[in-house]
């Protein structure tokens, strides 16, 4: 009986290895095609680069300035917006969640239920009015768009944080009050330390959302001046009649490589964070 199950597990392992190879093929394809000359991408998509189709790094060099907008500029804006928005969301919503749970007044209840409600509203519902509001308040630059992200992303973050704060014993904070701590000190010295796992989960969820988000920055940002990576890629593919496929693949490769490397280093946290968000949201 035991022997049978061990041969079975080897068969399953071989099967999954094959599936895994198939699974990563799309990304390998992008890598292969990013080294091919444009005319060969469509005709010989699945062949390895040959002597005549090999383009070297020319696609990457071309991709840097492709479409009259430097790729590094949109990469910078993407990174900048993602980091500042995530930091802002984590700090502001964790503070708000603590206030909501601990004060428990009518105002805080209303805010909490509004946050829960906002989680079920699809972006299409507010996209037109949100971009109009952001325009009027001059939030249409990468430096102020974090406020828009904080506003639209507050729901899930507040919900997750308050769920966690409810599980933290009050006695610790009461002890801090008796020891003479003011609320700010309690929050930053005591509360944040205990919230750390949730901070990581929420942070990962927000980073993945904002880094990949297309529609919100596309509608809110002034597109003639600021692009993020998804906007850049859509702009290249969408508005050019004959697209240089080789260069596009090079750009796609450059945009997914940082995430994949990051993922390989901290996949444990990423998977945990995503699972936590899924079960609660």
């Amino acid at each position: 009986m035991k022997k049978k199950s061990s041969t079975l597990s080897i068969v399953v392992a071989v099967f999954f290895t094959l599936i895994s190879i198939v699974y990563v093929m799309p990304i390998v394809e992008v890598l292969i095609n990013s080294f091919k000359l444009n005319s060969f991408v469509n005709t010989e998509t699945f062949a390895l680069p040959t002597k005549e189709s090999y383009a070297g790094f020319s696609n990457y060099i071309k991709g840097m300035t492709f479409g009259n907008y430097p790729f590094l500029k949109s990469a910078f804006f993407s990174a900048y917006i993602t980091i500042t928005s995530t930091a802002l969301i984590i700090i502001c919503t964790s503070m708000a969640a603590w206030y909501i749970v601990r004060v428990n007044s009518l105002v805080s209840k209303i805010v909490y239920y509004l946050c829960v409600f906002s989680m079920i509203v699809p972006f299409q519902m507010v996209m037109f009015t949100l971009s109009g509001t952001a325009d009027r308040l001059k939030l249409n630059t990468p430096y102020l768009i974090p406020i828009v992200y904080l506003g639209f992303g507050a729901g899930l973050a507040v919900f997750m944080f308050s769920g966690f704060v409810k599980g933290i014993p009050l006695e610790i904070e009461e002890a801090a009050v008796i020891d003479g701590c003011n609320p700010l000190a309690i929050f930053f010295r005591v509360e944040l330390a205990m919230l750390k796992p949730t901070l990581v989960s929420v942070g990962i969820l927000e980073v993945m959302w904002i880094w990949n988000d297309y529609l919100l920055p596309y509608l809110v940002l002034d597109r003639t001046m600021y692009m993020t990576i998804p906007i850049h890629i859509q702009y290249l593919k969408g508005s050019y009649g004959s697209v240089d496929m080789g260069a596009t693949m090079a750009i796609i490769m450059m945009s997914i490589l940082p995430i994949i490397i990051l993922y390989l280093f901290c996949q444990k946290y990423i998977i945990k964070g995503v699972a936590a968000g899924a079960v609660k949201g």
Partner: protein, 305 residues
Amino acid sequence: MKKKNKSDGTSLNSILIRRPIKRCFPIFILPTLLAFSVGFVWPFIQGIYLSFCKFTIVSDAKWVGLSNYKKAFMDASFKHAFWYTALFAIASILFINVIAFFVAYALTQKIPGSNLYRTVFFMPNLIGGIVLGYIWSMIFDGILSKYGTFLTAKASYGFWGLLILMCWQQVGYMMIIYIAGLQGVSEDMMEAAKIDGANRWQTLFRVTIPNVMPSITICIFLTLTNSFKLFDQNLALTGGMPTLFGDDGTMINSTEMLALNIYKTFYTSAKSRGIAQAKAVVFFILVAVMALIQLRFTRKKEVQQ
């Protein structure tokens, strides 16, 4: 010091802590509240209001009552987008959940290297929808060019293409949830089933699946709402192409889903913005109803356990 006791004995606040925090209202909650008003509450209220108006920009709105909603429901492309989305949702619920469940089931059977497979299967989740769409449009075009055709030549190519793309992306995600659920099934129960003489399949269908029902409910609703809210992948893979022309001059983008239909109604012509906003409200109600049904289902399950 008197504590307000809740039913479970632990309290969430006391006077001692509430007073000093309350004084810090501007620091703790005001930034989030302001941003939330700007980023959600105000646009939402304005969105509801504008759905009853004719407008091209927010300031020239004129009240027209329910006529936007009437036009939205008469719109053939909107109806098509709804049925297309519904069909796609059913297909993706079936495919994604069945595949994800069996992958998760196999990976929890102590096979060598299961962590590596998990890492690989989850990876596509990190890639944004726009990029995913273009990666797969290159691959599908590469395959179809061998048969002298291309992805946007037929609506069915776009449908199956999007389904393959979504499976590739979401199977890993749902797998993680199923694995968490499967690991929660107690060993004792499995052992009891074995002692009672149940074979592998009987154990799976009579013991394992009933015990991971909460995970199954979550995953079904996640795939359902994900399909309904799908936008980036739809835009990047086919963009709604190919377009069909009706006899009466109507245009229907055959692979266009609800979110993309609303987006195009908003931004291809400024005249139909009122109708687009009405469609968006209908869309919101649809998604909200799904969320409420999900809430009821998951609550019920919690009581049973």
